[in-house]
Amino acid sequence: MTPILQIQSLDKSFGGLHVTANVSFDVMPGEISAIIGPNGAGKTTLFNQITGHLRSDSGRILFNGQNILGHSPQRIVARGIGRAFQIASIFPDETVLDNVRIACLSKRGETRKYLRAVDAFTEATDDARAILESLGLSDQAERLAFELAHGDQKMLDIGIALALRPNLLLLDEPTAGMSPEERLHTKELILKLWKEFDLALVFIEHDMDMVFGIAQTVRVLQQGALLAEGTPEQIRANKEVITAYLGEEF
């Protein structure tokens, strides 16, 4: 089976700061995996490189075996990579439904319809409602997005990404800023979405309960370099990872 995503010797520096240092790894289709590492390790930067937000200095990024390095975010999205952001990236003054619906319309190539009311696009609307149902946001569909609780805004961000029907979904700290109960709920929900939408899913997390609870593979970044990669058991037992990041209690 060819990997869905191949990162090969990827590099990125900001001035003198080496933020991505010779990183290589493969993500298999249908895999759920985590990226962990201390603050400033370069996790978000790596996502930005994959999704075309940042230019890479050197290396290769292949998606389904084809190069995507140097492509615009628009093209990369069209290829099937979805993304939710560390700080929820939503459309605050639109309804929750419209936030997801615009993504559904975009996926269907219906955003260049100038004279038909959004409500008249029944397939996109049904699709959006189904996604809200999966996210547990159905009863808030008509509210404006900025009125949602913080955790729900993060879920909505994921919903927008899912609406584009990606094959690979990148989530940047999905539980950041959540209460312990919300984290537990989000963990279950992400596991459910992963199965339901038949995705390869890569998430960045600081919540170790979630990382070791649902990831099949864990990768550890430190100062831009891939320190370790393996199953949760392997990572938990890795001496280097323990000293660099996890600490003794693991």
Binding site: T51, V77, S89, D93, I102, K113, I160
Partner: protein, 322 residues
């Protein structure tokens, strides 16, 4: 969904009332002056609504829509002046074609620079066009403008021309309203709120900005060309920055976030100008004071505040108001 339907019905009935009022003007009054004021409200209403597609909906504050308003007016004025009154309607069409081309080329340029630079650059281009028109006396009549622009055939009749304007204005506003609530309109609002996310929907931000810039300019030019027949004359002021500024003021007055806000704003602005301007030359001071009060006390504009009151009394709060 019921809430949705309810507010759509109320928006529709509001439009029906507005159209009815304007349709009745020539019937309840024979005053050519009053019909002229009503025409001004219609034309400025269209201009302001088209401007608000840019600003209120997409978040692009152009200070130069007078350029297109003036281009529309001058293509009619010049062609009628040089070629005769029979060219009135073809001149409107030709002016619109020209504006499609100009707004496309200029749009490519001004949209590259965002925010306040966009505002300044649009202002600069409009002022440039004003300068050229002003200076090129032999061709444009300079500061004298062009008089005696008589529409052809039955349109020469004031009342027929009034209904001609009325139909074009409301059909145009209807088209713009459909656009504002189409997927295209939704993308435009998303561009205003979170352009980075729009890119990550696989949509191009600048391309959509260019589209709405062209749409807005097209209807601004249509408004300008209609105005040439309303007053039977055109003037360099139509290209001056104050014309762009008035569209901004009307939008703020009526309410940026309401689709028909700018139309109501235009009506109130012109009625104030007409009633107070007749009594005192200090009317700009009065409109200035009103604007100040509006912005400080009622930032949502007249229509926005009325809807808020209604929602408050009706306790059906929340949601977007069309």
């Amino acid at each position: 969904m019921t809430n949705d339907t309810a507010r759509r019905i109320s928006a529709t009935s509001l439009w029906t009332i507005i159209i009815l009022i304007f349709a009745l003007v020539p019937i309840v009054t024979t005053s050519a002056y009053k019909i002229n004021v009503a025409s001004h409200i219609l034309v400025w209403g269209l201009f302001a609504v088209s401007f608000n597609m840019l600003w209120g909906i997409t978040g692009m504050l152009s200070f130069g829509q007078a350029l297109y308003y003036g281009l529309g007016a001058y293509s009619v004025g010049l062609m009628v002046d040089y070629l005769g009154s029979g060219w009135f309607l073809p001149a409107i069409a030709l002016g619109l074609v020209m504006v499609i081309i100009v707004s496309f080329l200029l749009g490519l340029l001004v949209i590259r620079v965002g925010g306040v630079y966009f505002t300044m650059l649009t202002l600069a281009f409009a002022q440039l066009a004003w300068q050229i028109t002003f200076k090129w006396y032999d061709f444009t009549g300079g500061d004298d403008g062009i008089q005696g622009i008589i529409p052809p055939g039955i349109l020469e009749n004031r009342i027929v021309y009034y209904y001609f304007v009325l139909v074009i204005v409301f059909v145009s506003i209807w088209i713009l309203k459909r656009m504002a609530y189409s997927p295209f309109g939704l993308i435009l609002r998303c561009v205003q709120q979170n352009p980075a996310r729009v890119r990550f929907l696989g949509r191009r931000v600048r391309r959509n900005q260019l589209r709405v810039y062209m749409v807005s300019s097209f209807f601004a030019a249509l408004a300008g060309s209609l105005m040439a027949g309303v007053d039977s004359s055109i003037h360099t002021d139509m290209l001056f920055w104050t014309t762009s500024g008035e569209a901004i003021l009307m939008s703020v007055l009526g309410g940026l976030n309401q689709f028909f806000g700018p139309f109501i704003g235009a009506a109130i602005f012109i009625l104030i100008e007409d009633n107070i301007g007749a009594r005192t030359e200090y009317w700009p001071l009065i409109i200035g004071s009103i604007m100040l009060v509006m912005v400080i006390l009622f930032p949502k504009g007249i229509v926005g505040e009325v809807l808020r009151l209604k929602a408050w009394f009706g306790k059906n709060g929340g949601g977007r108001q069309p």
